[in-house]
Amino acid sequence: MRVLEGRLTMITIVDVRDAISRIQHQVQQTADDLCARDGQLGDGDLGITLEKAFNRLAEIGPTLPEDLGKAFAAAAAAVSKVSSSSFGTLLATGLLAAAKRSIGKTELHSTAVPDLLRAACQKMSERGSASLGDKTVLDAIDAAARALDSHPKDSVSAVITAVDETLSLFRDRQCKIGRARIFSDRSIGLDDPGMVAFRVMVGALKSS
């Protein structure tokens, strides 16, 4: 992907649309796996949630306005319409946080991405009453932001490595939040499905 690979550049709505369609494509391949992972700890709908969210985003992609703030807000509204499961609502929450920081801008410098991720992560943490360290998607997002800080040039690969490390780091810990909390013992040894979902999303951004 042009934006996040090997060079610092400006992000526009074209890049957002491209990212959406890449992720939508990848999510279709992995939905079953995500459902199965979620099924071991929760209600097994995570793959469906992502599919619904990105199918809808792909639908509205061409209509997204150039103003990135408005585009992220429209994306947030679209996601919150088709999904009510935690991951979908958190995704919408994160998009809304990013929207607030981007309003009026048609371009974003790629070095601004870590800040957007942190803003999203912050708002998602408030919404879901989860903290970093609770073994949720938040830990993966935070790791991604930190990787981008230190590797602004080789960004996608750095993010992928960082998320993979985070998955390993948390694998043997207990889930402390969400549906998985009630099976917290069972969650030891299993990856948090939300982190895996985030890994799928960033993986989709790497040029094949």
């Binding site: 935690s86 929450t93 549906r179």
Partner: protein, 333 residues
């Protein structure tokens, strides 16, 4: 445990369509969403609106309690799943008569996130709202961590009392205050004997051996506090009541309401056997039972088991509890 349905994916939609078709005097589907049920006379101008929301599979909870002196509107998710923030926002708009909207719902992560998001959405449209989360299940967290408890059958009392307060013309602060008091004064615990089947999953939510029961199990099959062999009804009633009383003491002279609720399959006969014991125990404590409820008020489809809720009353709550109300499943006054 077998189910009468067409397409598992259409379970919630077909249920709601049937509900509104059977009782148009109480329930109307929002023109904006087949997952939002609204009282035909809502919004009432100048009155506080009460909305709730939550998963399907708990009838009469949630949407059944839309009605006069009860809720204005309800957003309904798939079986055991939160409705979307979007649907909740639609419900909030349908409940808004200009005097604000109380979001009154059970303390579940998904519902909270979506209702907060919905609140942010309608805030932009100048709809003031407040929140009361019902967290009455004493089995789900200790007294010190009350706020983490799940919301179960106690929410029926909160709906009734908040609805009566709105009907009386109380303002949003006051409706919120009495709803919170009702939620705080309600304590519940359940016992599960056999599971239910979530249509899309097609398999039981949990397993219990033929002679086992689980005290404190949640309405979606969340783990409880103790699994044991099936005990006599009086022992089960005692265990449930003891858990409630040790969390919030009931003293001689107290006035309380009691809800003995079936999780679905457990028949009225057995609820009355449990009720007789609970009534006897409370009588011995010198407490007075007011307007007891025995029946299927908050279910988990065909789950076998029962829950007990004790609501400690004060004169304000008692008056609101006794105020007239009407929906397809409960008429008062």
């Amino acid at each position: 445990m077998k189910k009468l349905l067409n397409d598992p994916a259409a379970y919630a939609d077909e249920t709601l369509a049937g509900l509104c078709c059977a009782h148009p005097e109480f329930y109307r589907l929002s023109p904006e969403s087949p997952r939002v049920v609204v009282r035909p006379d809502s919004p009432v101008q100048g009155r506080v609106g009460i909305v709730t929301g939550g998963g399907s599979g708990h009838l009469p909870v949630f949407t059944g309690y839309v009605g006069r002196g009860l809720l204005n509107a309800c957003a309904i998710g798939d079986v055991f799943a939160s409705p979307s923030a979007d649907e909740m926002a639609i419900a909030m708009r349908a409940a808004n008569g200009g005097a604000g909207v109380l979001r009154l719902y059970g303390n579940y992560g998904g519902d909270i996130m979506n209702f907060e998001m919905a609140g942010e959405m309608v805030e932009l449209e100048d709809i003031t709202s407040s929140t009361v989360k019902v967290a009455d299940d004493v089995a789900s967290a200790s007294t010190a961590e009350r706020a983490k408890r799940r919301g179960v059958a106690g929410m029926v009392y909160a709906f009734k009392i908040a609805g009566a307060a709105a009907e009386k013309g109380f303002d949003l602060d006051k409706v919120t205050r009495v709803a919170q008091k009702a939620a705080d004064n309600a304590r519940s615990i359940g016992v599960a004997l056999s599971p239910c089947i979530v249509p899309k999953a097609g398999k039981p939510t949990f397993t219990l051996q033929e002679n086992e029961m689980e005290i404190g199990m949640g309405i979606h099959g969340e783990p409880g506090v103790r699994r044991s062999e099936l005990k006599p009804a009086n022992v089960v009633a005692d265990e449930m009541l003891d858990a409630i009383l040790s969390d919030g003491a009931v003293k001689g002279g107290d006035r309380v309401s009691v809800l003995v609720n079936s999780l679905g399959a457990t028949p009225l006969e057995e609820l009355y056997i449990l009720f007789a014991r609970v009534a006897d125990r409370l009588d011995k404590l010198g407490a007075q039972i007011v307007m007891p409820l025995v029946g299927r008020y908050a279910t988990s489809m065909e789950m076998t088991g029962a829950s007990l809720t004790v609501l400690i009353l004060d004169p304000e709550l008692e008056e609101l509890l006794r105020a007239p109300a009407e929906c397809a499943f409960w008429k008062v006054g």
